[in-house]
């Protein structure tokens, strides 16, 4: 049962406000990256592909690996928008006593693969998980979300090659191609080459979409899920989407006043 895109748009709007709200309370969050990946996260959790209320260890379910673990606030924000977290709890993010840590951690809610965050490593974890699910004969899929910057890591391609070699079509990879990494625009930091071509040459099926068009993402996911080969959805996004002063920049921080005033102006 899928939510209408109309319902999703409202959820995304609410979640975007929550991400900015959290940035107002904790300048340590990765604001720009959480804003770029929001529609992708909504296309996964908002359609029931992934669930906020399924216990770890449940069989025959789908798994989520947020390899770009620094964008975890997109997940927290969507969880709150869908009623699984309170706004009070969001305000506490990044505090030592909060379970909403700034990268996925052992006690982070909703994340069944909490050992991501060191870039590139979530990709290997997802490939191992997909290999394991197939070996167990479980029908679940692994949804892997990576950034474009983290594809600089050699480990990423080491494990994508394994996914292709073993034909892991239970792995659906989504690249949040926001074109920015810590030191600036990705192409200036290190050219990525023909990203789609790099995946295709390994044996992946590639779908390219506007990563802020949730209907387009869902449609690409459906195709990816039915692919006989491992599939990747390259989602072209804008870092900092929704906050004009940081859009398409490496900027992450807003003053609390700026953040809180934005909260009400977004969508």
């Amino acid at each position: 049962m899928e939510r209408g895109v109309l319902g999703l748009d409202e959820l995304i709007c609410k979640a975007r406000r929550y991400v900015v709200l959290m940035a107002g309370y904790d300048p340590g969050i990765h604001l720009g990256s959480s804003l770029s990946v929001l529609e992708v996260v909504a296309a996964l959790y908002g359609t029931g592909r992934l669930k906020f209320n399924v216990a770890n260890g449940a069989h025959n379910r789908n798994y989520f690996v947020l390899s770009k673990g620094h964008a975890i606030h997109a997940v927290y924000a969507l969880a709150a928008a869908m009623g699984y977290l309170t706004v009070d709890e969001l305000r506490e993010t990044g505090s030592v006593g909060s379970r909403l840590q700034n990268h996925p951690e052992v006690d982070t809610p909703f994340v069944d693969v909490p050992n991501s965050g060191s870039l590139g490593q979530g990709i290997s974890l997802a490939v191992g998980l997909a290999l394991g699910l197939r070996l167990r004969g479980e029908p679940g899929r692994v949804y892997l979300v990576t950034g474009d910057g983290e594809l600089d890591e050699g480990q990423s391609w080491e494990s994508f090659a394994v996914a292709a070699h073993y034909g892991l079509n239970n792995l659906v990879t989504i690249v949040d191609l926001n074109n920015v990494q810590l030191d600036g625009h990705s192409e200036e930091v290190l050219r990525k080459g023909d990203l789609a071509g790099r995946f295709r040459s390994l044996g992946f099926e590639v779908f390219e979409v506007d990563g802020h068009d949730v209907a387009a993402i869902i449609s690409a996911l459906e195709k990816a899920e039915n692919s006989a080969k491992p599939a990747v959805v390259i989602a072209r996004t804008v870092r900092g989407r929704g906050v004009p002063s940081i859009e398409d920049t490496a900027k992450q921080r807003l003053s609390r006043d700026e953040a809180l005033s934005h909260v009400n102006n977004i969508c």
């Binding site: 052992v106 069944d112 693969v113 909490p114 050992n115 965050g117 060191s118 590139g120 490593q121 990709i123 290997s124 974890l125 997802a126 490939v127 191992g128 998980l129 997909a130 290999l131 394991g132 699910l133 070996l135 167990r136 050699g154 480990q155 080491e158 494990s159 090659a161 394994v162 070699h165 073993y166």
Partner: protein
């Protein structure tokens, strides 16, 4: 019956894994283009569906093993010990932080791969894996102990690093004890004047040194620690107290390894005269590991000499 003494350490490893495969359906084995050299092939022949080659890619090897552990499997990932340390940060972040039951097996450790020179000779692996809080670290002495340690590792709850050689070993432990227990030290010789603690392949060198010492009227205990972590603190304290002089011997850098583990504990509980024997530099290409033991002074004569000095210092 399996004649472990006649196997090389890596053959014993391959046999242990394939036998574990019979006992446990959750055991999977991964290699980084090292199926033949680590003898993981012996498992692959029996259980091809549970065997994965990830290519020459150690970071991916460790990460994928961690993913398989998340899916409920018990992965054994095998490659040369030196190259396993290339994935140290993956061992930290993908494995150790979650305490996943991943077993990393570093073969060709120490000078075992004399032929390929220092790039292939792991002398830092004990230190690097010992520092990770969840890891158990095993360094068996010979083929019998490799087989037993690899088998016993399946019962460990968190991650394990197992340090294995290649072909050279001096069979010593086959008749020494009946059951390998993780975390237990084994007393090989009793003695009152000095205690020689060993891990890994240095055990037979220490046994020979103790015989040399006996001829000089010095009574040396030899205690073998195939588990570096958790260290058998009771055995460390008992023999430190009984002799007042502890000499550790390892085929590893003297920095941060087995000797350091013993020293850390004794310094905080019962300061004891100590010496740490091992390596302080990289190796060389040679025709055999024994040639390197000679070149770098890991010999029974040198062990006896250091022990004798310690006895005088007591």
């Amino acid at each position: 019956m399996l004649d472990l003494e006649s196997l090389t350490p890596r053959e014993a490893l391959g046999r242990a894994l394939s036998d574990l495969g019979d006992l446990r359906k959750d055991v999977v084995v991964l290699v980084a283009d090292t199926g033949e050299t680590t003898r993981a092939r012996l498992f692959a022949e029996r259980y091809p569906e549970r065997f994965f080659n990830v290519g020459i890619a150690e970071q991916s090897l460790v990460g994928i093993a961690a993913g398989l552990a998340l899916a409920g499997f018990m992965p054994y990932a095998l490659t040369f010990a030196t190259f396993m340390t290339r994935a140290w940060e993956q061992a930290r972040n993908s494995v150790d932080r979650l305490g996943l039951p991943v077993r990393l097996v570093g073969t060709h450790a120490g000078f075992a791969d004399a032929y390929d020179g220092p790039s292939h000779q792991a002398l830092e692996d004990i230190a690097l894996f010992r520092v990770l809080p969840s890891f158990t670290v095993l360094a068996p002495a010979d083929s019998c102990e490799v087989y037993r340690a690899a088998t016993a590792s399946a019962a460990v709850k968190g991650p394990v690093y197992i340090r294995v050689g290649r072909d050279f070993h001096i069979p010593t432990t086959c008749g020494l004890y009946d059951r390998f227990e993780v975390g237990k030290a084994y007393v090989v010789l009793e003695g009152n004047d000095v205690a020689i603690f060993t891990t890994g392949i240095t055990l037979p060198l220490a046994v020979e040194a103790a015989q040399v010492l006996r001829d000089r009227g010095i009574s040396a205990a030899v205690v073998h620690f195939p588990t570096v972590k958790p260290l058998d603190y009771a055995a460390v304290e008992k023999y430190a107290s009984a002799t007042g002089a502890v000499l550790t011997v390892e085929e590893h850098m003297v920095y941060g390894g087995f000797g350091s583990a013993v020293a850390e504990h004794l310094a905080q509980t019962r300061p004891t005269k100590m010496a740490i024997m091992g390596l302080k530099s990289y190796g060389r290409t040679a025709k055999s590991p024994q040639e390197l033991y000679q070149l770098f002074g890991l010999t029974p004569e040198n062990i006896a000499a250091r022990a004798e000095e310690l006895v005088k210092l007591r």
